[in-house]
Symmetry: C2
Subunit: 223 residues, 2 copies
């Protein structure tokens, strides 16, 4: 079986109040994205790595790779307008059959265990999507107000989201919809049943400025 | 107008793998709970403070207050079986009219701004409940599988949850239900419309061991 990791770094980083996109911020003295790629490269099933990145940053990334002597082999692909287009561009570059793990570039604290589990479950069941449950109470918009929900029924979705590559390619042939916020929603709309697997609270998405320090703390604790 | 803060520390801390409950863990060299109480004591509207704590820890807490020379005036009340019973016990000790902010003891990174906003909105509209929106995709259990939800409609609920004290007392006269996970769900079941106000991503609930280090980081950044 062949394994692929599709690392998606489309974002321009507006929420971070930084000039450079979040995936390039320094975490333990190297760009976030290098941690993410390294995690997949070092993982047990040795996936081939595809990186989807906004074309405006391809040169910058290549410069960073030289500067940080980052030699992990990976194929660079240009991002699209939406995350949907970026994943689609990436999938189109993958040839042959296998299992693909789609992962956010800005989730650098991803463990070998979770990567491997995600590939194995997807191989067995067709897909595997990482999720954690909220520890807070949850409410849902209902007209002008909100109403209480049963939090035991709610799942906060992470990546990797891992699929049979040919099936996911077919799902991504659908026309784009605004509610396609992740691969699970695309696959579900195509008719697949989604298999959730337990994610990791440490597998955070770098979103706010202090998240870099939290990721640093988590990486240190995993050592 | 009178203002009350009802700090609820019922938990026994099983998720933390520590021997002592989370509210007593050390954060910047003093127990978490002292940060929480101090935040309300120092806040602009100077609420009267009521602390609900498991009876097994009353003596321990009094010893801690001596040891750390913690002199913030507060009334100590015994916790009940569920959070519902604890809040009810606390409300029953509050005499007179006013606005009460119910707050988790294990949310020590609560800002003066959010406390004050919560009291002011509750005074104007009857209640104010702090909430943040997820940055992850969200799914909901539906039978054996899950289905994608619109995350823009989902709110993760924090504390303080702030109400007219007499109205909240009446709501807490209802018989307990298992889906009463917070004050908003109790008040809603009593017939109130809940007013959400924007919470703070830093206002975390100490849940996992490393959350203490994250709270430390957030407290430092607020200074």
């Amino acid at each position: 079986m062949k394994y692929f990791a599709l690392i998606v770094a489309g974002g321009m980083g507006t929420r971070m109040k930084t000039d450079i996109p979040k995936q390039f911020l320094l975490l333990k003295k190297k760009p976030v994205l290098m941690h993410t790629i390294q995690a997949f490269f070092s993982s047990d099933l040795k996936p081939e790595i595809y990186l989807v990145l906004n074309i405006d940053f391809h040169q910058y990334w290549e410069k960073l790779c030289l500067e940080y002597e980052f030699n992990v082999p990976h194929r660079l692909i240009k991002a699209g307008k939406h995350r949907f287009d970026s994943v689609k561009n990436g999938l189109n570059k993958i040839a042959g059959s296998g299992i693909v793990a789609v992962h956010d570039a800005v989730r650098p604290v991803i463990s070998n265990e979770l990567i491997t589990k995600s590939f194995c479950v997807a191989e067995e069941k067709g897909n595997a999507v990482c999720a954690v449950q909220p520890t807070d109470s949850v409410r849902k918009q209902n007209g002008e107000f909100t109403e209480s929900m049963n939090r035991n029924q709610i799942f906060l979705i992470q990546t990797p989201q891992t699929f049979d590559v040919n099936v996911l390619k077919k799902a991504y042939k659908q026309p784009f919809k605004v509610n396609f916020t992740d691969d699970a929603s695309v696959a579900e709309n195509y008719g697949l049943k989604i298999n959730l697997i337990p994610g990791d609270v440490k597998n955070i998405k770098i979103t706010y400025p202090l998240d870099i320090l939290i990721a640093d703390l988590y990486l240190s604790s995993n050592k």
